[in-house]
């Protein structure tokens, strides 16, 4: 087949699946938070199941709430798209786009499977894979900052300012926390990281990678603006944060981008620490069935980790802003540097297989 066509199919597939998971992870979040708070949550809009009997269609039931994302999307599109008069129009429009675009673009360098019919299951296997992901992900902050600033009102502005300081601080921890992994693997290519883990153990199995894993998880909570670090959109303090002045589809873009970032963070966690598409006792290479199985394993890991993100959000209370900054700069940053040193010692001592 034409290589450009294959790339197009992969791109459309990745974006489609990502948006689909985004839509349903919102539903999962609402159901799980309801469960944790001892409520029911959205359970009205099921997808009806019809059977055909005596030439008539009879509804016998409905899959619980699975229609909710469709209705939510319709609501977001049909609502009035109100632009307040006091905003800077250009940046007000640009904000949601700049948040959404990087959230989708990072998936270009994330391996979501091994190979299918000889085609590697990654859109672009570049040799600076992880740096590409971090570089593009770090651009998402522009959308939040510009959106908050362009709204020209106090609470969104405070949300935008908080967000820029928070994201920059935790980007540093995030970047430093993965350096030990690449010292062990010896490549920045994400497919190479997964291949290394198929040949040895998963990176999480080595004790000197536990500290980086903890720092990585906590930093990615902060990077995705989620509780306990959701200060840029702390409802009680900022009336919603940077997206207060937004309505309709523009608000939905901010909202979806947050979930897309969360799924990206889960996917990176799976790739970096938990073996990506690899599972013990599943053959590393094989026919179409094995290729599809690898994609399913990867998706299962991503969804499971995303559920952990949700679980944490509804369990842990929000930290204060000075605590957030103190944790980032005074605890995680030195610990990340120490973990680089420990990993270096482990490599020199020959404990780490290479």
């Amino acid at each position: 087949m034409d290589p450009i066509l294959i790339h197009l199919i992969k791109i459309v597939g990745v974006v489609g699946v990502l948006l689909f998971i985004c839509a349903y992870i919102v539903l999962a979040e609402r159901r799980i938070c309801a469960f944790i708070q001892d409520r029911l949550g959205p359970n009205r809009v099921g997808i009806p199941i019809w059977i055909r009997k005596d030439g008539r269609a009879i509804q016998i039931g409905a899959c619980w709430a699975l229609g909710q994302p469709i209705i939510d999307a319709l609501k977001a599109i049909l609502k009035e798209d109100f632009v307040p008069g006091h905003v800077n129009k250009f940046y007000f429009w640009l904000g949601p786009m700049l948040v959404m675009a990087p959230a989708l673009m990072v998936w270009a360098a994330i391996p979501f499977g091994s190979t299918l019919c000889g085609v590697p299951m990654i859109v672009a296997d570049i040799n600076v894979g992880i740096l590409f992901v971090f570089a593009i992900a770090s651009l998402g902050v522009y959308g939040i900052v510009l959106g908050g600033w362009a709204s020209n009102s106090k609470y969104p502005f405070l949300g935008g300012v908080r967000s820029s300081a928070q994201l920059i601080s935790y980007e540093l921890c995030l970047g430093l926390s993965v350096i030990p992994l690449f010292m062990q693997v010896g490549s920045l290519r994400l497919t190479e990281v997964v291949r290394w883990q198929t040949e040895h153990l998963w990176l999480i199995c080595y004790p000197w990678n536990w500290l980086p894993a903890i720092i990585y998880v906590a930093s990615s909570f902060a990077e995705t603006n989620r509780a306990p670090f959701d200060l840029p959109e702390a409802e009680q303090e900022l009336a919603g944060g940077y997206n207060t002045e937004y309505s309709s589809m523009k608000f939905a873009m901010f909202f979806l981008a947050e979930y897309a970032n969360m799924i990206t963070a889960s996917a990176l966690l799976a790739v970096l620490f938990l073996g990506g598409w690899h599972l013990p006792f599943v053959p590393v290479s094989g026919g179409i069935a094995v290729g599809i199985a690898h994609i399913c394993i990867f998706l299962a890991k991503v969804c499971a980790l995303a559920l952990v993100f949700i679980w944490v959000r509804w369990t842990v209370p929000r930290v204060r802003y000075d605590q957030l900054m103190g944790l980032g700069w005074k605890v995680f940053l030195p610990l990340a540097l120490v973990s680089i040193l420990i990993a270096g010692l482990a490599i020199v001592a020959g404990w780490s297989p290479s």
Binding site: N127, A135, S138, L139, Y142, V145, W149, V161, S164, I168
Partner: protein, 161 residues
């Protein structure tokens, strides 16, 4: 193809660079600078220096410019006032720019062609050079940055205990 991309990226970069100094709104200036950095990253990609291209985006567009924007927003700058055209400052600017151009020209003349050395895998090449040939300048630079950082912390503290 490479040539067209090179021309596209360089013209776009120069254009956005020009707009950085021509726009009256500081936020517009900052955003044009981000755009200029992107086109510069594109130039690096055309030169097959992927590592540099990504670092350009990661460090400058992703971190440094966000801090710039942060400060601009905090200062609450109004649009820059139109100032009187001064022949002295204009002439001074021309002199500085010319001196800079001559210096850049000298450096470019002295520079060996990287491609001629047969560098492959830019991350490894950059790392190897930094830790062997350029180890001393690299370390001195990092100490310099540390000194600058400590200086800033010292200056921003009102009362020293």
């Amino acid at each position: 193809m490479h040539d067209q991309l090179f021309w596209f990226f360089s013209i776009a970069m120069l254009l956005s660079g020009l707009l950085v100094i021509l726009s009256r709104n500081p936020v517009n200036s900052a955003m044009f600078l981000v755009l200029a950095m992107f086109f510069m990253a594109g130039l690096f990609v055309v030169l097959e220096a992927y590592f540099l291209a990504i670092i350009q985006v990661l460090v400058y567009a992703g971190a440094v410019m966000v801090l710039f924007l942060f400060v601009i927003m905090f200062l609450d700058l109004k649009s820059e006032q139109r100032r009187r055209f001064r022949i002295l400052s204009f002439g001074g600017g021309i002199v500085v720019a010319a001196a800079f151009l001559v210096k850049v020209h000298d450096v470019v003349e002295d520079m060996p062609l990287v491609a001629a050395k047969g560098v492959v895998g830019t991350t490894e090449a950059v790392g190897r050079l930094l830790f062997t040939h350029y180890l001393l300048p690299f370390e001195v630079t990092s100490v310099l940055l540390l000194v600058a950082m400590i200086g800033v912390v010292l200056l921003s503290k009102r009362d020293l205990k």
